[in-house]
């Protein structure tokens, strides 16, 4: 009970700080000027666009690939199921710093494995990190492949709870695999899909560790995300008020997205 206060207090305190010029040395109220500063700031718009670009790639892939893997697993035996889930989940429990070390080994400019392969193909000096048009898709793919496990497990559990009889009836009626997927699996899973969509969208707004360690948001905020901007302006530049203001905006944004998605995808739950 009392516990919720510990959550509410930081939230309100954060909103309060966003209206101030907070440096660790002192505090001054400055009204809305943090917000004005945000909307006139290049870095903010770049980071917002960056966040959107990561999200546009990460969310659909993170939904589609696990859904399809779970659907494939449906017709496999128990052993295959356990093994595939184990393998796919493994990167989820690996520390992302450890994964970044490997990816840096692959993608680092000049000495990275892929950079050297490109060198050999005659594309000299190719860099994954200089150009956001390349670094954002690459990092998004890495995020998708390392965070997929959770969704696979969720979708598998949901698909296994669909009564087998529906599939048998469909098979008797001559429905091919794709039709079974489209007209049985998808409708049954709609509530689970909504749940995963909402949690993954909120997750996508919080992409941080992997781009921070790989590109640091560069060049010139092109591959930065909002959370990276918050982190860097608060703990890099000691602008806590400004960072809090971005935090408040991010909070509002994720709230709006969650509400919209619940409204749009809300359908009658199927009883069985």
């Amino acid at each position: 009970m009392i516990f919720s206060i510990f959550y509410l207090f930081p939230l309100l305190y954060g909103i309060l700080v966003s209206f101030t010029d907070f440096r660790l040395s002192g505090i001054d109220f400055n009204g809305l000027s943090n917000y004005k500063k945000i909307f006139s700031n290049y870095a903010f718009w770049r980071s917002l666009a960056g966040t959107a670009r990561y999200a546009v790639i990460v969310i659909p892939l993170q939904m589609a690939v696990p859904l399809w893997i779970a659907n494939t697993l449906r017709s496999h035996g128990n052993k295959v199921n356990v093994l595939v889930k184990l393998f796919i989940y493994l990167p989820n429990v690996t520390c992302s710093v450890a994964l970044v070390i490997v990816w840096n080994f692959l993608f680092w400019p000049n000495i990275g494995l892929f950079s050297r392969i490109f060198d050999n193909l005659g594309i000299v000096g190719f860099s994954f990190f200089d150009n956001a048009n390349i670094s954002i898709p690459v990092i998004s793919l890495l995020i998708v492949f390392s965070c997929m496990g959770q969704n696979v497990v969720i979708f598998c559990a949901a698909i296994n709870s669909i009564p087998q009889t529906y599939y048998e009836a469909a098979e008797l009626d001559g429905a091919v695999k794709f039709q079974q997927f489209r007209y049985i699996t998808i409708p049954f899973l709609s509530s689970v899909i909504t749940y995963v969509l909402v949690t993954n969208s909120i997750g996508a707004l919080q992409i941080f560790v992997i781009p921070q360690l790989m590109t640091g948001g560069g060049p010139n905020y092109a591959s930065s995300t909002l959370l990276m901007l918050i982190y860097n302006s608060a703990f890099g530049n000691n602008q806590f008020g400004y960072a809090s203001a971005i935090g408040v905006l991010l909070f509002i944004l994720s709230g709006i997205i969650a509400v919209i998605q619940f409204k749009v995808t809300k359908r009658e739950a199927i009883e069985y």
Partner: protein, 283 residues
Amino acid sequence: MGKGGLILKSHKKKYSIPSTIWMVIVVCIVMAPLFIMAVGAFKPNLSLIQTPVDLVPFKDFTLNNVKKVLAESEVFLWLRNSFILSFAVACTTVFISICAGYSFAKINFRGKVVFFSIVIATMMMPKQILMIPNYLVANKLHLQDTMVGVVLTSIAPAFGIFLSRQAISSLPSELFDAAEIDGCGEVDKFFRVVVPLSIPTVGTIGILSFFSTFNDYIWQTIMISGKSLRTLPIGMSYFAQLQNNNKAAQLAMALIATVPLTVLFVLCQKFFIKGATAGAVKG
């Protein structure tokens, strides 16, 4: 729910070969970083930076990288710190979750619905938004750069409360009535009835919060600046910067950091599946 009609049983295991092949490819991509980590950690650095790269397992096998990591970094200190931190966070989270879950499930008090919806709302809310206020409070209380401070600020039991409420409300109320008739007070009831019956939930919450704390990089870099408190993620990224050109040593470091958690994960797999599906799938 029928397990499938007898006549069609033979059709049940029919799977399509192309999508199975695709699935195997996806699994290979997902496992590729871990494979590179495991192979590269036992290679001389030269085989990794030469062109074409040599990633054949067990060729030029060497333990030098591992020795180097053990000699030149404080990896055991980092591991110890991470374990202490994660263990403390897991224990506290479990305790808070079970207490709160019990009261939300079985005790009536004013504003119960409101409080519970607040807890659920915090589950949906990005934790990172609280980053700055939490840091400022910790800074004021001089908890920054102390183990207690990191533990206290890493506790995030909303999901645990949700999970344990689900589990405890499915326990029959008659049990609690019986305990009351036998003369149990609230505290006795909690420790003798609720806790023993929710051991699986305790396991799930504990394991999940252990892992999320262990792998949490961002909050720990904010809170920890001293050398003696460095946890594994921080130490690892520090070591990687230090050994920028020695890829093999970096991979060995990553491997050493990954192995304990992987073993733990394989042992506790079922808790993960339970935790992942708890919020999403009904029944």
